[in-house]
Subunit: 92 residues, 2 copies
DNA sequence: TATACATTTAAACAATTATCTAAATATCGA
DNA sequence: TCGATATTTAGATAATTGTTTAAATGTATA
């Protein structure tokens, strides 16, 4: 959970998530959207992967990244617990 | 928006938010929950305030902190845009 | 199998962040 | 106004993070 929030704290990583919302993309395709070296993007992708926010799968020469909405849902739940009226404050 | 995500990236700050969800509290009351110096807590409170996640109001000797759910709602919206089916990808 | 392409890993470095102690500011009550 | 209490601000430092270039790994193809 902490990893997820930390992963979301960076604007580049949030943008990557948006890109993957539209469709799966390879690391190179993702990198093209940014003014940043490929190793940097790779690093950000790894942060997202560690957090469980994306998954990767090698397809031949390429590595294809996919959004994992499950973890996003968990973050959503955490936030919803705060704004919702129910006060059972379960400490997740 | 970036400030909000960065503020949420720290576990101490998330815990502070949870504490404020239950009720408003003074800086000192908040600090009692943590194994950390008061200046550190003050620093975290300031980060939350800068992000707009909390508001503060002096009450005599004390400073009382309040949760501002409006900004939390904005973060929620950002996340909901990702998980929802609608694909109008407005770049907020 | 040699070369090119896609991507990651390694190593270094700068910038940011979290933390502490000490000092400053603000308010209250005697 | 003085002393106690509540909190923040300042200054220092250690840890973490984001970035780069160079090298390594894995795959495809001629």
């Amino acid at each position: 959970m902490n990893e997820s929030f930390k992963a979301l704290a960076d604007p580049t990583r949030r943008q990557i998530i948006r890109l993957l919302r539209d469709k799966d993309r390879t690391a190179g395709e993702i990198a093209e959207f940014f003014n940043m070296s490929k190793p940097s993007i790779s690093h950000h992708l790894n942060a997202l992967k560690t957090a469980g926010l994306v998954q990767d799968e090698r397809q031949g020469q390429f590595i294809r990244y996919t959004l994992n909405t499950t973890v996003l849902d968990e973050v959503l739940s955490w936030l919803l617990e705060l704004t919702d009226g129910n006060r059972d404050k379960k400490g997740k």
